[in-house]
Amino acid sequence: MTQNWATEHLQAIRTLMERSAIYRRALAPITLLVGSIGAVAAAIGWLVGIESHRGFGLYWIAVCLVALAGAFLLVRRQALKDAEPFWSSPTRRVAQALLPPFLVGLVACVLMALPRWREPLQIWWLPPIWMVLYGCALHAAGFFMPRGMKLFGWGFVLSGCAILALLNQRSYASGMPAIVNAHWLMGATFGGFHLAYGAYLHFTEKRKNEA
């Protein structure tokens, strides 16, 4: 009886300590915003016809910066609304977890967009590399976020690996497709995946609040 009581107390303390370290701020709006930006940017990239390898890399880096700025504003707005510090402990942990893969993604893009790069179609490798890195970033951040985030990260990692394998096969068989089609890949993954997960978060969070 006493042991049960003490064990339950310890379990409750552990749960509360874990809950305190979890980031939950504006997840659904951020995911939906990033998904919308990704989908719209893909359509614009295809319509405008950004076909050079440098143009593709720089364009999507700019899209990434716009998405990050939008996410930052949403987090800040939520923090002000809830009278919470913006740079809270969970926010700091999530940012630290995201930073290394994001940095590698930027470096990969800069290297591939360099003028001396011999084969422009090699830029096709960039979307799956970004997907894998982004998946790793989400998975790392998922340790300080609700459980679904790690699975979402795995989705990006596995899809990125599958696309890498397909591209590898294609590059040997019939060469790479035109760069303009890579916009659709970015739209389907960074746009579509986020929109689907954002919709899931939106409805499940709503249901939890109603319960």
């Binding site: 042991q3 809830d82 009278a83 969970p90």
Partner: protein, 103 residues
């Protein structure tokens, strides 16, 4: 069973609401009033009363500042508070071990 560890449990922390507050603060350098209230599903009055008791015991410190023109109140564990919390956990573990070994 040796009742000594149970008798040594800090009565200020042992109360359910205050233990929950201490647990949250032990895992974060600082937390705002609203963060704690929403995480613990407590009323404003309830959490204020518990925080006051913890402040009076010297376990929790309060900081008032402004963020974006709005007042922001944050709380953190003090050094004695962290020590008392660690001691409380150690005693609980001792109780569990004692009961397991049948002393």
């Amino acid at each position: 069973m040796n009742p000594e560890p149970f008798l040594q449990l800090d009565r200020v922390i042992h109360e359910k609401g205050r233990l929950a507050i201490m647990s949250l603060l032990a895992a974060s350098p600082q937390l705002s009033f609203t963060e704690m209230r929403d995480t613990l599903n407590m009323t404003d009055g309830n959490i204020t009363a518990h925080l006051r008791t913890l402040q009076e015991a010297g376990y929790v410190s309060m900081t008032k500042e402004f963020q974006g023109g709005r007042p922001l109140t944050t709380f953190a564990l003090t050094s004695p508070g962290r020590k008392a919390f660690t001691n409380y956990i150690n005693l609980l573990e001792q109780i569990v071990q004692q009961t397991k070994s049948g002393k």
